[in-house]
Each structure stands twice: as C-alpha cells, then as structure tokens.
Point group: C2
Chain length 535, copies 2
C-alpha cells in the first residue's frame, strides 16, 4: 500500500481532532480554522516528464522492463519530497517543485549498478527512495542554478527480501526496500527480532534506517540502528563497496561508519547485515512521574549510567506531560488535563526472568530518585499510540494549526542548557512573529554519556506557514549549535540541516567527506546537495 501522498500513513487511519482540542487550539494559540484541506491529487498540474526517450529506454533496460520506469503524474507526485511539515504544507497546496522526472524500480544490486550507469550516460541525478519518510529534505536534491539536471527517484520497494539468516551468529542480511514491519515478520519466523521501532516504523525501510542513522523508541535496550549494522553493500557509480567482515576489527577505519549516515550521497545501500536478538518472551510498559524535568533527567541519567537499563526509557517535560502528547490517544482528555510534573515511560522486553529482575531493580532506582509509580496503564497507552503522532500532525494541519518536531543530542552536562536555549529560541521567535507556540520536549534516547532531546512545536500557522516556520527553525538550529548539541540525533541532515551540519563537522571534516564523494560519485549524480554542499 502507498502512503498518503499529502500526509502520513494509511488514509483509512486518519482521525480528526476532537472539537474540544480544536477549541483549545483556538483559545490557547489563536489557531484559525482553514476552510480547505489538501488539493485533490488529480487536480495537481504536473509538468510532463523531462526524461528523454533514450534515457527512459536506458533506465528500462537497467531494471528489466519499461513497467519498472514510471513517468505518470501520480507516481511522480508520490515521490516528491518527504514528510517534514514544510514538505506536507507544500504538497497539500499542490506545489510540486522538486518532482522527479521518473520513478525507477530496480530489483537487485546489479540493477542498481546498471541504473547508475544509465544515469551517468544520460546526465541524470538520482535520489534513493525507501519509505519516503525523510523529515529533513533528504529526498529533495539541490543543484546549481546554472545546471539543472532532471533527477529520478530510485524506489527500492522491489528489493524487499530477507537474503540470509545465521542463527548461530545471530545475524541476518536484508534488502534495503524491506519495510520494518515486514522485516520483523520475516525475522520472527526464525525466532528473532531486530528491536528497531522508530516512530516511522510502519513505513520506513531498512536501507533508510541505515542511510540516515535511525534510532528507535526501544534504543535503551536494543541500541540505535547503526549499533545493529554489521555489514553493508553500497552500489556507487564507481562500483561496489562492501563493508563489514567481522563484528569488530582493527583493520583500519570502520568503513561501515562511512556508509551509515551517508544519506544516499555516496551510493545506494543494496543490502544490510544486522544483528538479531531473540524474540522477547515478555513486553511491558509502565508510567512514572517526577516533580520536575530536572529530577526526571537525573533519574534517567542514573539508569543509563549505572543500570539496570530498561528497553524503553523516555521523559516528557512539564508541558508535554500536561498536554498529554506523550499519549497522542489521550490528547485533551481529563486525565491529561490533570497531569502534573513530568512523565516517564519505561518498557522492558526479554526473558520473563530477566525482565522481572531488571524491572524490580529499575523501579528501586526510580523510586530512590523521587519517582512515583503510575502503573502499567500510562505505559501501555503510550505503547498503543506510539506510531500515531504523525497522524495527529495531519489532523492539526487540517485544523489550521502548525505542528513540527526537531531533535538534538548532547552530553549530560549540556542537556539542561540545550533544553532551555532551544525552547527559548522557538518560543521567542514564534512569539515575535505573532504566533506564540506550545513547545514540548522529551528525552527520547539515553546513553551513558548523554541524551537526546525531542521537541514538538504547535502554533498558529501564519499566512504563509512554510515561510513563517523557517526563521524559528533557523533559530532552533543556531541554539543547538551554540549550546553544544548536534544538529540531529536521529532525523539526519538532508538539505534542511546541511548548513549547520557543515559547521558542526568543521571545514576539514566536510572536506574529507567531499573527497570520498568525489571518488565514489565523480559526476555528482547522487542526491546532489543532500548531506554535503554542492561543489
């Protein structure tokens, strides 16, 4: 099934906001209802594909037939941009700037190599496309104004197999177009799980997770996706790069780590070998409450540093706890209205015995740090609604509100300053612009040495919502760099974060990566302007 072209997920699952929430938005944030929703798909005027007939034939030859090269309007619209709020606002308005000339569907690594050769021969740029869930402009290439090549989207959905399982080593090799739920289903047949459950879980793909260094909601227990990757195959215009021969090695720089996070700028990931874990016997979620974000942060730090480590560990700040966005199902509910302090969600997965022991010890730590146990209900409610926040965003946009998220990470000692200054930057800038926002935050991922902060912003839209948001996003990015955070903990760089990424990585760091790009993609065909600035 295809995702909703103008929003998130399965159109059948769309749910309007309760009237009470709409009223709240109006009273609290001055949100004005909009008369119109997204334009209709078939009303969008799409310019004819600029793909030449010889280029089209070459691509068809590369992928085994013209049925795997699509130039119809709907296919192209469905591969235009990603799922950031500005992306959605543009799509809802029928703006198809950034539409690909064609969608190409390879079935194998060799197909991908052949497509890259065809692109080189016909001077086409190429954007790898997995689940299409980028929220950082990762599917929107930029090119020098003097030289606008057309580009094709390389949709990897036909490459969706489980290639091999090694139950002794607990590894599996997966194709890049495999969506996460299908990967879990295939691995479950062998008694294994990957344990990667990001908010984009239902739609995102294995290749995308690797390309963008995804991190899931159970990362405290299962690690980030880049922790799970043992090997990668990368198809580049200059040939094939294979990385990862042993779990760990001292043989030079870790080439896996050069492919992870490369966001399609160095090549197309055509297989990923991952670490597996046994399917858990039990899975339980609970809620805790702390009197302040500071107190809750101290509790999370203690669990992350001294253990025991829950599988899921998250802390919402006062605003997020109050609004109940920690449980999207419950937004505006009386329970959420009565919330006070900061809510923590803990989850435990594993063997029955191991889970019971960890849970008991973690509870003692949380209690010792000032936490109040809220029972399983808030935890299970969170787990039930864990993938629904993006649907909620569509409903907010329909109601005339603006809603967007952004995230960062830092060492523990910098977390309080980072939290304060990003919140302040967003609040100040949007208030100055006449749309005072609600800024909510949670700690979404913890490490021994630091944590991530995930911000949600809701405000009125302003007259031109995309332009209205840009200065606030800019201010948040500046605040992140100034406070010692990274420009992205798990969303990636894309085009949206690129200019701040360049500052974070430093001139020589970027130059080293550009040297790699020039070697692997000398004609600059791959995702131009994504991750790295144009030459």
């Amino acid at each position: 099934m295809d995702m909703l072209w103008s929003g998130w997920g399965d159109p059948a699952k769309a749910t309007p906001l309760p009237d009470a929430v709409t009223g709240l938005l109006r009273k609290l944030l001055g949100v004005k209802p909009r008369g119109t929703g997204p334009v209709a798909l078939d009303e969008i005027a799409v310019p004819a594909s600029p793909l030449t007939a010889p280029a089209c034939r070459a691509l068809a030859d590369a992928v085994g037939g013209e049925e795997h090269v699509r130039t119809d309007a709907e296919s192209r619209i469905r591969h235009t941009r990603g799922k950031s709020t500005p992306d959605l606002l543009r799509m809802r308005g029928g703006d198809t700037s950034g539409i690909p000339a064609a969608v190409v569907l390879p079935a194998s690594h060799d197909d991908v190599l052949a497509v890259l050769r065809a692109c080189a021969a016909h001077d086409l740029a190429l954007v790898p496309f997995g689940g299409g869930t980028s929220v950082v402009g990762g599917l929107h290439p930029e090119q020098p104004v003097t030289r606008r090549r057309c580009f094709v989207a390389l949709d990897l959905r036909r490459m969706d197999g489980l290639i091999a399982v090694d139950p002794v080593s607990r590894t599996a090799t997966l194709q890049p177009g495999l969506r996460a739920p299908r990967a879990e289903a295939l691995l479950a047949e062998h008694g294994f799980t990957l344990g990667h459950f990001p908010q984009s879980y239902e739609w995102a793909t294995i290749g995308g997770f690797a390309a963008a260094r995804s991190s899931g909601q159970a990362s405290a227990g299962y690690g980030r996706f880049d922790d799970m990757v043992l090997g990668l195959t990368l198809a580049t215009p200059e040939g094939t790069l294979e990385a990862g021969r042993a779990p760990r090695s001292a043989a030079g720089p870790d080439l896996r780590q050069l492919v992870l996070g490369s966001e399609g700028a160095f090549g197309v990931i055509t297989s990923v070998t991952v670490r597996l874990r046994p399917l858990p016997e039990t899975r339980i979620h609970e809620g805790w409450r702390f009197s302040s974000f500071e107190e809750g942060t101290a509790a999370l730090r203690r669990l992350a540093q001294d253990g025991p480590r829950p599988t899921v560990l998250r802390l919402s700040d006062e605003t997020e706890t109050l609004i109940g966005l920690a449980q999207p199902d419950a937004i505006g509910s009386p329970a959420a209205q009565q919330a006070a302090g900061c809510q923590v969600i803990t989850g435990y997965e594993g063997t029955a015995e191991g889970t019971a022991h960890r849970r008991k010890r973690a509870a003692a730590v949380l209690r010792d740090c000032g936490g109040t146990y809220l029972g399983e209900e808030p935890g299970e409610r969170w787990a039930h609604g864990r993938y629904s926040a993006p649907y909620l965003r569509d409903a907010l946009l329909d109601a005339g509100a603006f809603a967007e998220t952004l995230e960062t990470a830092a060492y523990w000692s910098r977390v309080p300053g980072l939290y304060a200054s990003v919140r302040d930057a967003l609040t100040t800038r949007l208030t100055e612009a006449g749309t005072p926002p609600l800024v909510m935050c949670h700690i979404s991922h913890v490490y021994e040495n630091g944590a991530s902060l995930y911000f949600t912003v809701v405000s009125a839209q302003g007259d031109d919502p995309v332009a209205h948001w840009a200065p606030a996003k800019h201010a948040a990015n500046e605040a992140i760099l100034a406070a010692g955070g990274t420009i992205s903990h798990h969303h990636g760089v894309g085009t949206d974060h690129r200019d701040w990424y360049v500052r974070e990585a430093g001139e020589l760091g970027i130059e080293a990566l550009r040297a790699v790009k020039r070697r692997l993609d000398p004609a600059g065909l791959l995702n131009p302007g994504v991750l790295l600035p144009l030459d």
Copy 2:
C-alpha cells in the same frame, strides 16, 4: 622510563626461562641454544642523521627548542621499529634499517601543527610515536624506492596530561602521549576508570590505542577502546579536524570512526575524549574448565549473546591450556602439565552487589554448558601474569626459540573453520620448513555476533629467523582471509598486514580512504606506506 630497546618492557623485570622449559623446548621443538644475546646498544653502528641543519632548526622552532629535537644514536635507535618478533630479531642483531633521522617531542596540538608545517617545508616524512608497541610494522614507514625521504619520529611523551573531566557526563579528555597506567592513576583521583587493559597496558598510550583500535582484556565488560572514544582532535598537514560533539548523532558519517584505526596515516591524534566508568568496588577472577574448545566456545557464545556478561572472558584451547601459557608465570609447572581440556578465565568488576549477581548467574550458565569450576586461583594467577607474556617472549628468543602472536576475528559461525585453518596453515608451513611449531590459541574477546582468536606460535628459529617466519605469517594471513576472518582484531594493519587489508577492504573501500588521505595529507608525509599502499 624507557622501554628495553631490544625487547619488551622494564629491563629489571626480565626473567630467564627455567632450565626445565629450555630442555622442553629442545626436546619438543628442536630449539638450539644460541651463544649470543642482543648486541650492546653502544656497539650498534648508526649512520649520522641525514637531517639538514635548516630542517633541524625548523623542527626545533616548532617544538620550542633544540632540546626537543634529538638526533643522537640512542634516541634514534629507541624509536626504530616496534615490538613484533621480526622487529625484535632485527634490533637484537643490530639492524637499524628503518631508523628515524630524528626524534621530535612536541608539547601541544599547536606544536604538532608546526611540526607538520616544518615537515612539509623540508620534505620530511613523519611517524607518530606513542608507546612504540606496534607489532604490525606501524612505526616503519615505506617509501617509493625512487624517492627516499628521511623521516622523523614524533614522540608524544610530553603530551601526557589529563585535560578535563566531566563527572556528570562521565567523560574525560586526555592527551595522546599519556600511558595507560598514568591515565588510570589520574582518573582514579576522580573516582573513575577507563577499563582498558590490553597486554601492552604498561607501555602503550592513549593516542596509540585510538590510532590502532586497541582492545583490552576486560573488553567483555568495558568494551573495546573504540567503544570508549567520544571525541578526537586530529592535527593534519591541512589543519585541524575535530570529531565528536555528542555521544551519538545522525549528522552524517561518524568522523570519529574515520580517525580511529587511521594509524597516523591521516594525521596525529592530539586529544581523545573518552567515556569513564566508576572505579569498581570489587574485582575478582576465576577459572573454569571445559572438555573441548568447541564446548568452551559454545559457553562463551551463550554468555556473549544472552548474558550475563563477565568483565573478562577468555577461553584457551587444549594446547594453550596444556602448555600453561594462559598463565605465563606457571609455564612448565606441574599444575600446567596436568592440565586437560580447555581453560576459561572469567573476571567480574563493578559494585559488590552487581558483581555477585552477575557472577552467580554466569556460573549457572557455565555449569549448564558443561564447565567445571576451578576456583579463584587460576583466575588470580592469570590476572597477576596478564602483562608478562611479552617478557616471556624475550626469554624464549634468548633461549634460541622463535615466538610470535597473531590474531583475527569473525562471526561465530565462522570461528571453528577459522580456528582450524589458521592453525593448520601455521603448522603445515613451519613443519615443511623443518621447524614444527607449537600453535596455541585463545578466544580473547567476545561479541554478540562473533569472537576474536589469538594465536601464539613457538618453534625453533631456523637459520635466518625473520626470513624463516615470513612464509608462515603469509600462510596464516591467507588462511584468515579465506576463512572469512578479518586481518586484525586489535593489532592493526601497519605495513605487515597492509596487502591483506587492501583485499579485505576492497578496491573501492581503499580508494575512499586514499581520497581522504590525499585531502588531509596531500604531500604524503604521514606514515607513508602504513595502512594504505603508497600512491
């Protein structure tokens, strides 16, 4: 204190082999006693330094005075090659091929940048020198025969400070020339440990650990050194590269992982930010015995995959268990002679409560896998002698034997085949050459998805010991690649493993790294021929 120039460690700690062992070597391996030991240091004829007076002045200016540029014979001899057995055999014979023109001692990052500028201006190659413990030719640059520049050793011993500790984030920033015992002492003042205890512990440096992806004997609990690194500063001929702003990030490829394992070929590591752990309350070691290497391997795999994870976890094969090299102190002792099966050493560090719990549960797993508990004595004996094996090698060389080690790693399912084929390659080749060897092996490091194998080879020397060993080492390297292992788990690439590393990383992987090298070190000053082939 300086390390023994012709062997390992503190000359005062050298211990001769017991006569019984010498007799055993003679009977078992046909080792013939040698009349002579190493030549005397002051008898070695060293050619005058080829450093020109202007180059010498430029280097002195870079490091704050001519007292920090040493061209005397002894300083240069002490910076010639590393500590592989072929290195030692050459040094013992007075062979000073590969001697640096000078030893330069910078005191700061800026000094290093200035040295690099002086090297560029005067066409000098440069070899970073930490503890001098490379066993893979990492201190022995190669240059095109048509263009033999002289090279200087950059000894980082003056850069041996603890720059900063962040107790909240549990991080510290260390200078590269800090030796491990001093780093531990400085961190202990703050209540922390790094937990990195490789066999080279007493001599090796923080910068070397990072440059060569060191892995310590407590890696099951504390991780490898590359797991501990959060940030690095690299001084290159093109300027400074800083990597690591947050514990983890989705902002592009992980530049830390491009510096780790770069072995001085991209730049000089001038600071390392590491993860800290609290000083353990308790530290205990134990011995276990399994009936076979296969049974012991299965037990280690179960602990690595399902836990609980001891801090130290090692398994000696039958030969190593029998010879008692697992406890260098006990070699040839009656206890060692009676050993049968395969010995496992487990160690536990941490809080008293956590250690007791892990130990009890791990014991249940080991017993369930067929292990017999041997008590604390073998464990404590191993811990006591854990840094003495290199001293033993000197004694073996003195006695006329040849002794060398090599190591690899692979996924669990490949471990049995890798073990058999490397052992077979070494045995076959050395037996054909007339010196049937003892080949011992242990699993030194475990991961969820695989393990490392560490081989020790002892044989008679042959007439020309360096040339005699080369085909056996070659055969072992070929066997490693053929059986799916990595050419090095923790010793690194240097010059000795380079040709196999090139095959392991693949043409395009190597080309990507060469592109980085050309950008950071366009004149090819840094460690020419180490890690990467000459252009």
